[in-house]
Amino acid sequence: MSTSGSTYGDIHRYEPARESTAAAIAIVLLTLLEIVFVFMFTWGLVSGWGLTADGNMFLGGLLAVVFIDLAFILAIYRKEFLPDVMVVKKRRRKWEDLYVRGDQVDGEQLEGAGIWDQFKRAVYPYYKR
């Protein structure tokens, strides 16, 4: 409930996280992979895998996989393991608030103006009407 007379920030909807089984399995597996890859990269770099050309590429690939895996984990976490919360927010102005009506969306068409004329107007807005 609002305390200051304003309703901004009032909780409109609070639904607990979905936590589907598939998401749970996926996040556990991805987490295990992530941990394995992180330690594999660390171990590899310290023990000098990167001193050969192939090993260097392998280490680079490991680092890339670490970050991509982390991205997927965060995506799943955000979608399935955070509650669905909707709060009251201030409505920002949209383009339709700027007095543009449905029948005016195309704006003013230049009557009989050739393509060269339109180009000149686009380049120089103060060109004589």
Partner: protein
């Protein structure tokens, strides 16, 4: 314009006014003359405006009398049917938590009225399609009324128990598995990061480079930063979750304090209360 909540053009009222006028005049001749006047005006208006391509600019140009002459109230659903549809649709929206409100139905002099209210606002839907009220509830109810007055709109079917949740049923602390996993990753990242930094200090990881290794410490610090970030994410999620659940519970209690309405909600009648209080 498809806005039945607009007072000037309330669908039901137009017809009612016309009937009143005809009835009050009493004499058949006067009614006759009035209806021919109306017909003439209607023809004139239909000639002037192209209703197949009718825009807001035409709408603004029209006089109120012209509008009432050509307005066909049968185009819109009004009366008890509108109230039924709005009630059903609002119940469905409350059940899916799109609208935060309690809904009550009150008998009135000209048909049932709907009252939707929350802790900070209310909306009253009259059978003629007009809506009055204030706050976010009004904002949420208005589009529903507009939609339900159109025949093309299919009203959603509400579930068995279409009401706001019980405050005690709101549980915080969901998604703990996700938090645990993120903490595991964060711990692993920090450990590996520290290992990399120490390792690059102890051993010469890039013997070809005379200045010493730079990859090790940089990646190590990056891993530590990721770990700290993930811990912060989890801490924030837990804190805000607890806080928001408490706020939501408070708000639900404020709406539903022993079945009583907040003070600012107008008292339509009392029998609506017993019907729906749960």
């Amino acid at each position: 314009m498809a806005d039945p909540s607009d007072d000037d053009a309330a669908p039901g009222r137009t017809r009612a006014d016309a009937d009143d006028r005809a009835g009050a005049s009493g004499e058949a001749a006067a009614a006759e003359r009035e209806s021919t006047d109306l017909d003439a005006l209607r023809e004139e208006v239909e000639e002037r405006y192209d209703f197949d391509d009718f825009g807001p600019a035409d709408m603004a140009e029209m006089e109120r009398e012209e509008w009432e002459a050509v307005f066909d109230p049968d185009t819109w659903i009004t009366g008890p049917e509108l109230i039924d549809r709005v009630e059903q649709d609002l119940e469905a929206r409350i059940a899916t938590r799109e609208v935060f409100a309690r809904l009550e139905r009150h008998p009135g002099p000209d048909g049932d009225r709907l009252l939707a209210y929350s802790d900070e606002g209310y909306a009253i839907v009259n059978p003629d399609g007009s809506v009055e009220g204030e706050g976010t509830v009004l904002r949420d109810v208005e589009p529903t009324v507009a939609l339900c007055s159109m025949e093309q709109y299919e009203v959603q079917t509400p579930p068995e128990d279409p009401s706001l949740p019980d405050p005690d049923d709101v549980e915080s602390g969901s998604g703990e598995l996700g938090n645990t996993m993120l903490q595991l990753i964060a711990a692993a990242q920090i450990l590996a990061g520290i290992g990399l930094v120490i390792g690059s200090l102890v051993w010469d990881l890039q013997p070809d480079v005379p200045q010493g290794g730079v990859i090790g410490p940089v990646v190590g610090l990056l891993f530590v930063a990721i770990g700290v970030f993930l811990f912060a994410v989890v801490a924030n999620a837990r804190l805000s979750d607890r806080f928001r659940a408490a706020e939501y519970r408070d708000r639900l209690r404020a709406v539903d304090e022993a079945g009583e309405r907040p003070e600012f909600v107008p008292q339509l009648s009392d029998d609506g209360d017993e019907e729906r209080s749960d």
